[in-house]
Amino acid sequence: MPPKQVKGEYIETDTGNKVSRKSNILGSQNIILGGKTIIQADCTIRGDLRRSGAPGQHGNVAIAVGRYCFFARSSVLRPPGKTHRGFYPMKLGDHVFIGEGAVVEAAMVGSFVHIGAGSVIGKFSIIKDCVRIEEGTVVAPNTVIPPFSRVAGRPGVVIEELPETAQDSLECGRIVKQIYRMI
């Protein structure tokens, strides 16, 4: 459990998310947060990288995040893109835990995903539900990780299949709720 934060460090949005003032959020109008999501200090979220085209109105979302997510310090969320083709919207599910210093450029991350500290998720990778990515893993671009997997190594490959109770183990709702009340 992180130590109690200094009061006032976190802003609470109208949808119920807690965002640290020291975090680095660009293009916040293109970011959708689900609710009860915590974004810690020094976290970078690039909402400015979006495909600018015909749908140039407010409905152009760069990053969509689910509920009960937790982005630890110094993590980076960047929508993947190709040169001359623009950026692809990034979508995260519920109960996603992103560890410290992790760089996530996936196209889609499912629900109940635990991304360890210091890991790098390559461009356009697709991570399905109930996946645990160990610390320091480097997942190659364009990888698809099936549900109930444990991924480790450089390049990240599936090393183990998680048991049926993985969803309960990976659920960070309880921890997020506790931290949410503290800060």
Partner: protein, 576 residues
């Protein structure tokens, strides 16, 4: 692979106790100072057999009919569906039987680093010839000289190209009369050494097939034929079955004939069919070519062991590797081996994570978690010997009924260097896991600490309790280890704890009594707490290190360590 994370809690599955002989007349020669109500001996976590029965709670299932915990070894798997882990397309089982258990679309892994390969065009616009490119190590099929015309159905194109390559290579290595120099436009010599490893002796026998796959098919057909002949002559070949049957049946039974070859005839060598070899042994030569090549390319041009054994054709050089097709994965349903009850049944849709039936141990047996009482005083990797370490053991109740939990542990942990363990409150109650709303809507009052259990002189109180959990204190005093070099396993403090929960539950009576009768049910299991690693006794303060124990237990993955100590006693877990 993982560093041992302390503290970890493992649960023993009783399935291993039924294997082998079980002496029911084992006397109740249990130690008197062990306060265990069941008969039998305590669970020794260092015994060789117990290492195979310890699992973390996440991996255990529960069979309601047998009222017992089921581990991955005592469940039977049945396959629900096959799917490719890369493209997440479901493959029907008929296709799996015919085409094999690999993906037949465009899913390949890099043979060098095992990352995923992607189909990319070689030129800027999307029309040029396509290759499979690894985005991690930048290997591509151009390195082995293969390019594809279309970006789809890569498997078929790859198979065709490899077959053509080896066919032309073998024909070039065979008789020099027919020299197909102009057959192929692409350089195919790198692939020639993969198949032409045998020197064919000039013999009257027909030239063998050129590729390893064709050779395999030929051998298989030959042995199938031999098998059919052997079965036709004699059951099991060489009259073994007849001889065996003759041993057991005497007199009139002897005259009975088993099959077309009767007993008398089968003993003659005429009908004894021997399995013939397809062709006489060949001299395997031709390794000089490969050795020369390996000298040229050096260490970094040769395949490593991991890269080599995962390939089909065992290539020695990096220029001969092929992209690996993705192996299919399955969704399995699990069944109890004894009562055939389905314990886990996933939904057949690949992308769904829900389960139709999910009987996991987590929802039936009380769950143990452990943490430190005093955060600053305990370093899990360096427990001070001969000093009193206090831990908080939390028991969480998943059932809808109130349970009475009894904890029991031998005063000295089994093993060469026993640690002393005290449970301050061995018997207590844990509340029912009622609806969350009852707690939210009702007053936020915590129940008073109940003083329960046999008063042994120590303060038999619980530390804390909540809606469905109770925390008690555990005191552990590790021993002083001698200064000699010990195995890593000896340093770990392993505490076996017997958890027994008694509860009353409503059962529905079908025989029309109409009254709700409460039935007393009980369940117990052995659990091993790996509390920490003992350190050397130091005079000064112990260095403080935030170890893994600070993280909440639910995010920690527990690992089971292999107890490889020279255990002598095979302990039987006592379960009523």
């Amino acid at each position: 692979m993982n560093a041992p994370l302390f503290p970890s809690i493992l649960i023993s599955c009783p399935c291993s106790d039924n294997v082998g002989q079980r002496s029911p007349t084992r006397s109740r020669a249990s130690d008197d100072d062990i306060d265990i109500e069941e008969e039998g001996e305590t669970f020794d976590p260092r015994a060789p057999r117990s290492a195979f029965s310890l699992f973390p709670l996440e991996n255990l299932l529960f069979c309601e009919d047998c009222n017992q915990v089921r581990c991955p070894r005592c469940v039977q798997d049945e396959i629900v569906c096959y799917f490719c882990p890369s493209c997440l397309f479901e493959v029907p089982s008929s296709t799996v039987k015919s085409e094999g258990n690999r993906c037949t679309r465009n899913c390949f892994s890099c043979p060098i680093c095992f990352a995923a390969l992607s189909v990319t065009a070689t030129s800027e616009d999307q029309t040029g010839p396509f290759v499979l490119l690894c985005s991690h190590c930048l290997w591509s099929t151009q390195d082995i000289g293969i390019e594809f015309e279309k970006p789809t159905s890569i498997t078929a194109q790859l198979a065709a190209k490899l077959k053509a390559a080896t066919a032309s290579a073998s024909s070039s290595s065979s008789s020099s009369l027919s020299a197909p120099e102009t057959s192929h436009s692409r350089p195919l010599s790198p692939l020639s050494s993969s198949s032409g490893t045998y020197f064919r002796p000039t013999s009257p026998i027909p030239p063998p097939a050129s590729t390893d796959e064709a050779e395999f098919i030929r051998l298989k057909a030959h042995y199938n034929q031999q098998n059919a002949i052997a079965n036709a002559d004699d059951f099991g070949g060489s009259g073994s079955l007849s001889r065996l049957m003759g041993l057991y049946s005497t007199g009139a039974g002897r005259i009975r004939s088993y099959g077309p070859g009767a007993l008398q005839k089968s003993t003659q060598t005429k009908n004894r069919s021997e399995w013939q070899e397809l062709e006489p042994c060949r001299a395997v030569g031709g390794e000089d070519e490969i050795i020369e090549k390996m000298k040229c390319v050096g260490f970094y041009g040769a395949t490593s062991q991991a890269q080599r054994i995962i390939q089909v054709h065992n290539p020695k050089l990096l220029e001969n590797v092929r992209p690996l097709a993705a192996l299919l994965r399955t969704k399995r349903s699990k069944r109890c081996r004894s009562c055939r009850h389905i314990l886990v049944k996933p939904e057949s849709k690949v992308s769904s994570i829900r389960y139709r039936i999910k009987l996991v141990a987590r929802s039936y047996i009380p769950q143990l978690t452990i943490s430190r009482l005093d955060h600053n005083a305990v370093n899990y990797f360096n427990l001070q010997p001969l000093s009193n370490h206090q831990f908080l053991l939390t028991v969480t109740n998943p059932l809808y009924d109130l349970i009475n939990v009894t904890l029991a542990t031998p005063e000295k942990t089994p093993g060469k260097y026993p640690a002393t363990v005290y449970i301050l409150c061995p018997e207590f109650e844990v509340g029912a896991s009622t609806d969350v709303w009852d707690e939210a809507l009702g007053p936020e009052a915590k129940p008073k600490a109940k003083i329960k259990g046999k008063k042994t002189g120590l303060a038999a109180t619980i530390w804390d309790s909540g809606r469905n959990w109770t925390t008690v204190i555990l005191e552990i005093v590790p021993p002083l280890l001698p200064d000699t070099e010990l195995e890593e396993d000896d340093y770990v403090v392993k505490v076996p704890i017997l958890v027994r929960s008694v509860y009353e539950s409503d059962i529905d009576r079908d025989d029309g009594i109409g009254k709700e009768v409460k039935e007393k049910k009980e369940h117990s299991y052995w659990s091993v707490l790996e509390v920490g690693r003992m350190g050397k006794k130091t005079a000064g303060k112990v260095g403080f290190e935030e170890s893994a124990g600070a993280r909440p237990m639910s995010l920690m993955s527990t690992t089971s360590s292999a107890a490889s100590d020279a255990g002598t006693v095979r302990d039987r877990r006592s379960l009523r």
